[in-house]
């Protein structure tokens, strides 16, 4: 189709706009509501104020919950990375026949309702110091988000011929560590990163697991947010905006870092030493 007719173009535009509208409307509305003075008698807010944000920042739990959520999300990312990447790699290289089993296992966290997962953790791990600890929560969030990490990593593992690259590395004298860090990981980097982003965002926004597992022992940001919805809608909206902006910002920083890392690696002439002579 060299010259698309007007009809389909318009239709495509409409579909895309509807989708964007559908996705953006709640976000825009939340942003506006967090800034609104009063918004129940008119289409647009009657006035704008920073008051909700001031209240939010001054909440006694604001800093501590934010910190807890960040710790939880980052720890989940790291644990997930440490568990999933070697597992996927070794399954692909040495235990191919277990791959279908692993694929199946990774559906379970989706199939089990979050509440059930949380309550089972609470019931099973009743002993100190694990019970209701942030550590237990991290384990739960890692399991809960494992499919994201697993899918992203295994997709990028499938996209590269991992076993041939491994053998090439081995034949050149590379041991497991060097093969993993210098050959395999750089080639499945995008998958690892997108998996970590999904894990981060999901854990950062999780309410159920934290509420049921640690509860007040380890209060997370979404718990504060839910609390505020019952007190002041504008403050809750402000907290949502902060949460959303933070998650988005951190994603951007991660993406920027990764693109910078890969760029600098390509720009750096590795035969500097030779040219210098």
């Amino acid at each position: 189709m060299k010259t698309p007719t007007k009809g389909p173009v318009f239709l495509r535009f409409l579909i895309v706009s509807l989708f964007v509208f559908y996705m953006l409307l709640p976000i825009v509305a939340t942003y506006l509501f967090s800034l609104a003075t009063r918004w129940d008698r008119s289409i647009m807010p009657e006035g704008y104020t920073w008051e909700a944000y001031q209240t939010a920042f001054n909440l006694s739990y604001f800093r501590i919950t934010l910190k807890n959520s960040l710790i939880l999300s980052i720890a989940s990312c790291l644990v997930s990375f440490i568990i999933i990447v070697p597992t996927v790699y070794l399954t692909q290289i040495n235990f191919r026949k277990f791959r279908p089993l692993l694929d199946l296992l990774m559906i379970i966290p989706f199939a089990i309702p979050t509440v059930v997962l949380a309550l089972s953790y609470v019931r099973v791990y009743t002993f100190q110091p694990i019970t209701r600890s942030p550590f237990l929560l991290i384990m739960a969030t890692v399991v809960y988000t494992m499919p994201f990490m697993y899918r992203s990593v295994s997709n990028s593992v499938d996209a590269v011929d991992i076993s041939v690259l491994t053998e090439a590395s081995q034949s050149l004298g590379g041991d497991l560590w060097n093969t993993l860090t210098k050959v395999i990981m750089p080639n499945i980097y995008p998958g690892i990163l997108s998996g970590m982003l999904l894990v981060f965002a999901t854990v950062f926004a999780d309410f159920t697991l934290a509420k049921l597992i640690t509860g007040a022992h380890f209060k997370t940001f979404p718990m504060l947010l839910v609390e505020q919805t019952q007190i002041d809608g504008n403050v809750a909206a402000a907290l949502s905006v902060i949460s959303f902006t933070l998650a988005w910002g951190i994603s951007m920083v991660l993406l920027w870092f990764s693109s910078k890392a890969s760029k600098s690696k390509k720009a750096q002439p590795s035969d500097k030493a030779y040219i210098g002579k």
Binding site: V164, A168, G173
Partner: protein, 349 residues
């Protein structure tokens, strides 16, 4: 003494033999190729030498040392893969340096050494490119350079040229042979292309269905095949199935083929008499005074092949393939006589 020895190596996959009772001695500095049809176990044997597969039984010795229990990254055996297997995240130079770094070469020697092997494959100007910026042929040269850089004890190549087009293949196999001869590097070259194997090898190992059919120089393999499989797999051969009749002939359904090579067999043994197309003369008249075999037939197919013309001649029971000089002219359906010496006719079980 042999440099690389494979002694009675066997390997099964799910009870199916992939390699059976494989015995081979490779001398230092020689290029030996494994030649055989798909699935005959060439790759499996190569991978056992590299250490990627473990033999079910047998011993692999390199320079007098049993390497069976040494992991692949400690064997110092270079490998070139059919799919090149360059590291996409590294430049050409970094690809080559990787092995040197893994071998803990002194830092200031790494890049000069990498440059040296890059020169060897005549691709010095690609040092800072990424593999995806190179042609297939260039990538395979880099893969070769990368494997050579670590000065491996043995170089293994698994159908290194089969992903390339015909022209590049011929050039590159010449290059591989040139470099191999200059460096005197012990090399095993897997291929299913007989022309490739015959043209670059010191010795050829012909394999079929998990076992070795014959080991020999390219000349031996071509001129004195030991089995019917080798005779028909390497080059083209006309075969007459029949039984030994006396000391000097094989009796098939319609013909009595005279041969000087039947004495190894007992009277009545079921055998094949084999003749290469280039050993056959074709006449448009019935030749007189010929001490050998003369058969009458009709020209069935004519294939012009440059220097020679390949004729298919229907002699009733079967069609005989004969190569005649390009200047001889025959036409379809022409009545001809084919003649071949009794010496030209090999007898195999």
């Amino acid at each position: 003494m042999a440099y690389l020895t494979l002694a009675d190596i066997s390997k099964n996959f799910n009870k199916n033999p992939a390699v059976e009772h494989f015995n081979l001695d490779v001398e230092k500095g020689k290029l030996v190729s494994f030649l055989g049809p798909s699935g005959c176990g060439k790759t499996t044997t190569l991978r056992m030498i590299a250490g990627f597969e473990t033999p079910d039984s047998g011993v692999i010795e390199l320079d007098g040392e049993d390497i069976s229990n040494i992991p692949p990254n400690k064997r110092n055996i270079g490998m070139v893969f059919q799919s090149y297997a360059l590291f996409p995240n590294m430049t050409v130079l970094d690809n080559i340096c990787f092995g040197l770094r893994m071998h803990k070469m002194l830092k200031n020697q790494i890049v000069p050494k990498a440059r040296e092997v890059l020169d060897l494959v005549r691709l010095s100007d690609t040092a800072n490119r990424y593999p995806n910026q190179l042609s297939g042929g260039q990538q395979q040269r880099i893969a070769l350079a990368r494997a050579l850089a670590i000065e491996p004890r043995v170089l293994l190549l698994d159908e290194p040229l089969s992903a390339l087009d015909a022209e590049v293949r011929v050039v590159l196999r010449g290059e591989i042979r040139r470099i191999q001869t200059n460096l005197k590097i012990t090399t095993i070259y897997v291929t299913h292309d007989q022309e490739e194997a015959l043209s670059i090898s010191d010795r050829v190992v012909v394999m079929n269905k998990a076992h070795i059919e014959q080991v020999g120089t390219p000349q031996e393999i071509y001129r004195e095949p030991k089995t019917k499989f080798v005779a028909t797999f390497i080059g083209t051969a006309n075969e007459f199935h029949g039984s030994v009749c006396g000391k000097d002939s094989v009796k098939s359904a319609e013909f009595l083929i005279k041969t000087n090579n039947a004495s190894l067999f007992a009277d009545g043994d079921e055998v094949f008499a084999l003749v290469r197309p280039e050993k056959i003369d074709v006449y448009s008249y019935k030749p007189e005074n010929i001490d050998g075999n003369v058969l009458e037939g009709l020209v069935d197919t004519i294939t012009f092949r440059g220097a020679e013309t390949r004729l298919g001649i229907d002699i009733g029971e079967k069609v005989i393939t004969a190569d005649v000089p390009g200047k001889d002219v025959f036409s379809y359906g022409q009545r001809v006589w084919v003649a071949f010496d009794s010496n030209a006719c090999q007898v195999l079980k």
